[in-house]
Symmetry: C2
Subunit: 147 residues, 2 copies
DNA sequence: TTTTATACTTACCTAAAAGAGAGCGCTATG
DNA sequence: CATAGCGCTCTCTTTTAGGTAAGTATAAAA
């Protein structure tokens, strides 16, 4: 698969700064329930396959089932179906079925999906940027704990 | 737990733009193995507990085992130990043991950990910002598929 | 003397997630 | 007539996540 990196747009940066400021001002008033929901959402949305599919679709939309499957390569059909359905439910993509034979289904990223993909972007960048550092940290850790 | 949001720093934005440009220029030359490693790293690092602990530690460092445990509230000792050890191995935090009784161990975020936490930040922001949208998307999906 | 505190580690168990593989419906193509 | 193609779904098995509970060391407090 082709992984592409996109920097955050200026609007996104401004937005996140605004949210940060709001957050700072009313620190004690942060609703517990909102935090729980955010955590739950993070748990669901920050998963490997979701991130990868989002990457793919933000690069090229629409894509068909087998196109995504081939692009990823290592995902089982079951997991792909499952993840796509979940993402559709969460409003990250839309699913369009053409009533033809053989079946044709198109997956198209939504605006919501695009913004999430943009948010993930910095994590991709981080991972690409810090591969070697993580690897050497692991090596060092394994050596010092092993002896 | 207190979740705080921090916007990306100017350096981070500049950096990610630089990486993006580099990426664009040599698009076909992208190493397959690097992609695989990035994916693996994402899979390991983009997990719920890692994100939460990183958030905590980026807010206040150092923290002791029980402090983290209490701050999260819903994590078992086993998972906490496991996640902390993994994060230490990946170089995201350091572990300092004081040879006293009762035991005292301090966890301190590293520079690498800080940059990852900054990268995650936009995902937290996205989640907080789009809670309602995701919820209504789910509602809509459930209603239209149920009938 | 018993309890408490701390930061684990180990063993055991269950439930959920993931993977492998077959089947399916229908048509066009060889 | 057999086969291939698409986008699944279903079943079965394996793997992983994660919880519970117990144990450990030692000193100080009750």
């Amino acid at each position: 698969m082709a992984v592409r990196f996109k920097p955050p747009t200026q609007e996104q940066i401004v937005k996140s700064k605004a949210i940060y400021d709001r957050q700072q001002r009313s620190d004690e008033v942060v609703d517990e329930r909102v935090e729980k929901l955010v955590e739950e959402l993070i748990g669901r949305v920050a998963d490997k396959w979701t991130m990868i599919i989002l990457e793919l679709l933000s690069d090229k939309t629409p894509l068909r089932f087998t196109q995504i499957s081939k692009a990823i390569g290592t995902i089982s059909q079951k997991m792909l179906t499952q993840t796509l359905r979940q993402m559709e439910r969460d409003g990250l993509l839309t699913r369009k079925v053409y009533p033809v034979v053989p079946p044709k289904v198109e997956y198209r990223i939504t605006d919501l999906g695009l913004t999430l993909s943009a948010a993930f972007c910095s994590v991709w960048v981080w991972a690409a940027d810090n591969l070697k550092e993580v690897e050497s940290a692991r090596l060092k850790f394994d050596q010092t704990t092993e002896g």
